[in-house]
Symmetry: C2
Subunit: 321 residues, 2 copies
């Protein structure tokens, strides 16, 4: 969430008048995230989030995301609910961009991750996967193994600007992952980007999940591997085994992991680390024009990737052998 | 308003617990403005603005600003009201910065200025000046004529980077303004920065004034000169005489202008144009580290300055001779 596109008072008033949520009282651009322009809109009906989808989100994917949030919220997942206009339409256009109004979720994302956060996250992720099982639409994960090489090729020549020798290491890693990536694990709807800033808490409970704009159909255990990378490492680059165990236990209580899913975990975690390394590398080398946020350090994920590469048994994630 | 300093969920919860406004439900950084870090905080008590004062606002000035907002709101001016904690204190500290919570104002600032906005603005400015007359504190305007040379000296050598010959023109202008600046016009509390993004409207009415962090004691007519520059010029650099007339008429209905104030208007407008030219020039040459906003064009105010320099009679502002 950032602000790439300004919305004027007149056009906002006209836009919000299409909904049954009362007069606009206020609209503030939100200084968070990187993908879309987000505004906190207060109306007589309460607080809402207005999102203008910028070019990184493909227009043809939006019906999937909107329908997914509607489906999940109907199935007990606390997430933003797309608000339909008086005409029944949830996805429309504003300032030449696709735009949607969604409900506002109470809660704050945790800055200092503690084990209880990871346990609650695991349970919420399992609940998301269960609720997603009855969702009728699919969307390929274009940021999984089949998409990495194309992304990597756009950065490969300049990888040394970030760290000498980086290209050699990534060449080898990518070749191995393409060769050994699992073909047959349980699949379903995954969030695919469940970092702490996408998970709201009230007290010690998850109060909502946001930002479904990378959601897709993929291995469910891959979502868990993303969370392992996003939640369980300390600032010094070491894995906090307690957090990993609590995350995995929390998940398994909601959705048991099969033996092949467990066995694939280190490889899925390497893949997930590479995915964020590559997108951050791309953003580092090509900062989006007009972005009001600083690019994130790609090398954080190189260190995580190396950690998972060294895993010889699942005890390293806090699991019993 | 921008976000220079992040506030974590734990520290925010602890901070808000000092007030009697309920549990924090959400906190979003606001992507607007340039001076301070601002957050829209939703609690069980409603929406509030949390401001962390960054280094551009002098700590010793804060009691003036807080007391001024309290005074004005008690005297009928719609503006943010500082919220006092359970201990009676409104100004405290968060993340090593002075911080305050103020009430949230409904309304949006106008992007496309129409004459009715200028009329309502004039009336609101006069009401502000009237309410300020009973305010007991004073604060010198360090961005008026006595402060310009010091600011200019920090930019003078590099002025040509922005426009060739700029230094020569500003040398002459500054010398003239220092010589001819009025000494004895009606004084009082002025806002000193009443640009459109600091004035909220609902429908055609002003619903509130914000951002009092340049407020000071100075010529009341200087505030009007700031508004003339901020509201009455078109994008092509020309003055819209209708807007100027409506602004001045709206003001005079609420507070009549004396003959010497009217006569000084072109000079005050030149001074006000120079003031914004200089601060923008400074920011252009020294963009604040970590600012998530782009610096504004200083030359916009050079064009305005030149316009006012050419004024030979007040008819150019839409006033009768």
């Amino acid at each position: 969430m950032a602000v790439y596109t300004d919305v004027g008072d007149d056009e906002l008033r006209a836009f919000i008048a299409l909904y049954d949520i009362g007069e606009v009282l206020s609209c503030k651009g939100i200084a968070e995230g990187v993908e879309n322009s987000n505004f906190l809109v207060t109306t007589e009906g309460g607080n809402f989030i207005l999102t203008l989808y910028e070019k990184r989100v493909a227009r043809h994917d939006l019906p999937f995301f909107i329908a997914l949030m509607e489906h999940l919220s109907k199935n007990g997942v606390a997430c933003p609910i797309p608000v339909r206009g008086r005409d029944g339409i949830a996805l429309r256009e504003l300032r030449g961009r696709p735009a949607a109004v969604v409900t506002f979720l109470a809660g704050m994302w945790p800055r200092r991750i503690q084990p209880f956060h990871c346990g609650a996250l695991g349970a919420a992720l399992a609940a998301l996967h269960r609720a997603g099982a009855s969702f009728g639409m699919t969307r390929p994960n274009d940021l999984s193994v089949t998409g990495w090489r194309r992304l990597y090729e756009t950065c490969r020549r300049r990888a040394a600007e970030v760290q000498p020798g980086l290209a050699d290491e990534l060449d080898a890693e990518l070749a191995l992952l393409e060769e050994e990536w699992p073909r047959d694990l349980p699949r379903g709807v995954i969030h695919a980007d469940l970092f702490p800033d996408n998970v709201f808490f009230r007290e010690r409970e998850v109060s909502g999940l946001i930002d479904f704009y990378f959601a897709c159909t993929d291995f469910l255990a891959y979502d868990l591997a993303v969370c392992l990378n996003a939640w369980c490492f300390e600032a010094d680059g070491s894995l906090n085994v307690t957090k990993a165990r609590v995350l995995l236990d929390g998940y398994r209580r909601g959705r048991p992991l099969a033996a092949d899913e467990l066995a694939a975990l280190p490889l899925l975690a390497r893949g997930s680390a590479l995915r964020f390394l590559l997108t951050r590398l791309f953003d580092w080398l090509n900062p989006p024009a007009g972005a009001l946020v600083r690019p994130k350090d790609p090398l954080e994920f190189l260190r995580k990737l190396r950690f998972h590469r060294g895993i010889t048994n699942l005890g390293s994630y806090g699991l019993d052998a």
